[in-house]
């Protein structure tokens, strides 16, 4: 079953573009990445899914139910961590957590204690005394305290130190193992790469590509970096399969797809200082789609 399904989902803010005909299917149990630069429409998509804003056209369903019509019902099983976290300044952390829990008709006290421990939250502090990173930690606990079946994360790691990021990712993986589906938007590719099974790439409001993470990583591109003693003549690497060529002083980088022998022969003819042949990371592939 598809946990999230959108069909030609479109949102305009007046005349300005939000998202255009977005089609995504997130299957049960997946960790689904949603990447694109700032302003591409990631948050817009999420806010439509949560019916904070309404689509201009197209449909969106979660757990097979229309997101607007069955909004309150669907949200019982959704945990949401917004990109920027804002809470009631004068409340204490524990009061906010209990307030949040009071919307779900179940006892969350045990889970709150657990999560607060994992995220090392100070429960007696007032919200306005917290640093941004600590507010984000509160947000994470808020998103998970009712053990939701669908976890929606919008740029989750901003403001978290690397150690906390690790803790957080472990937490998400654990929830996923317990059966939760995860939808994670990010412009930081490494975090998507670390976590996701499938990824949709969004650019200027449109989905550019949807791929399995394994397919994306295994695409037979190689990233080649060559540093030579003498300057490499212009047009030396003008050949089939080369793309994204960049030359800086004596060093040249490019992506290569095709028969690797053809390019190694060329490289062999150069007087080299160093040579790197790497599997491209998502960053490179990403740039590739954005050219």
């Amino acid at each position: 079953m598809n946990v999230i399904e959108t069909k030609k989902l479109t949102k305009y803010y007046g005349k300005s573009r939000g998202i255009i005909e977005v089609d995504i299917n997130v299957e049960d149990g997946e960790i689904y990445g949603f990447i694109g630069p700032n302003g591409a429409g990631k948050s817009t998509t999420i806010r439509v899914l949560l019916s904070l804003i309404y689509a201009t056209s197209g449909t969106a369903t979660i757990f097979g139910k229309d997101v607007v019509k069955f909004g309150p019902e669907i949200k019982k099983e959704i945990g949401y961590l917004p990109g920027e976290v804002f809470y009631y300044d004068t409340m204490r952390v524990k009061d906010l957590l209990n307030y949040s829990a009071s919307f779900y008709k179940k006892d969350c006290s045990k889970r709150i204690k657990e999560l607060a421990g994992i995220m090392s939250l100070e429960l007696d502090k007032r919200i306005d005394d917290l640093s941004y990173g600590n507010k984000k930690k509160v947000g994470i606990v808020l998103g998970l305290l009712h053990e939701p079946k669908l976890i929606i994360l919008d740029e989750p790691t901003g403001g978290l130190d690397p150690l906390m990021q690790q803790t957080f990712f472990n937490l998400v993986r654990e929830e996923n193992k317990k059966g939760a589906t995860v939808f994670l938007s990010s412009h930081i590719l490494s975090e998507v790469q670390r976590l996701c099974d499938k990824v949709a790439i969004i650019k200027e409001g449109k989905i550019v590509k949807i791929e399995k993470m394994s397919d994306l990583a295994q695409s037979n591109y190689s990233k080649i970096k060559v540093e030579s003693k003498a300057a490499i003549p212009e047009g030396y690497f003008d050949m089939a399969g080369v793309s994204g060529l960049k030359t800086e002083n004596h060093s040249t980088t490019f992506m290569f797809k095709g028969d690797i022998n053809s390019v190694t022969k060329k490289i062999a003819a150069l007087d080299l200082v160093s040579l790197f042949v790497e599997e491209p990371d998502l960053e490179d592939i990403f740039l590739h789609y954005y050219q």
């Binding site: 803010y13 806010r47 949560l50 019916s51 904070l52 804003i53 309404y54 909004g71 309150p72 019902e73 669907i74 949200k75 019982k76 959704i78 949401y80 917004p82 920027e84 976290v85 804002f86 809470y87 009631y88 300044d89 004068t90 307030y99 949040s100 009071s102 919307f103 779900y104 808020l142």
Partner: protein, 264 residues
Amino acid sequence: MNIYLRELKARRKSIIFWSIGLFLMDAASMNKFAGFEKSGQATQVFAAFPKGLARAFGLGNVDINTALGWFAMAFMYLLVLVAIHASLLGAGILAEEEQDKTAEFLYAKPISRAKVVTEKLLAALTLIIILNIVTLLSSISMVAAFNKGVSPTQEILLMMAGMFVVQIIFMVIGSAAAAIVRKPKYAGAAASAIMFATFFLSLWLDITEKLPWLKYFTPFKYFDAKIIANHAKFDYAFIVISIGVIIAMLTMTYVSYNARDLKI
């Protein structure tokens, strides 16, 4: 009821300040009466005023040499205060979630917007009742204090009942403003603008005594304290109008707030 309770808790300081303010206003105006009464000059002082100006001060067909008459005049100022309170409260209680950017937190919860509006309006209504009761009790005791221990309780009760209706009207005008305006930070300003416009309209009607049918457009004219002081009754047509206005504003609040994108 969790939203209702949170709202009351978040607003308890503010309602305490408003209550103190209303009490002081009440005490101060009746204290003035005591001063005039001693010298027996209230009527003379105001008789020297040009007629229009005297009316602008709320002096109409009412005997300001009696405590109740004086109170009926002062009532107008109490009414303005509670109207400001109700307008800002009605607008703020809805708009604040968007203004403080907590809307994303709240509306990701399994709750419909209509339910949120209902709980918030009930919280606002509770606060309005508290302020009304505080004003009622301080008015009865203050008037009694300056009326040789006797308080015309029935007239004051009627005035406060009228005040209550006016409070509700401005509260729902406020909530409708918050539901309609594009930018939540303008909700309070829009509601207060309507409040002051209708207040000045009622002043203008008092001063000029022209275009009397315009009184239907200002809630400040719906429950005229001077008439209540003299006759101990309302004009029931205004109750019907009030109910109409309240229903219209509530409908606008629920429909618009549910239909629009939240400002995040």
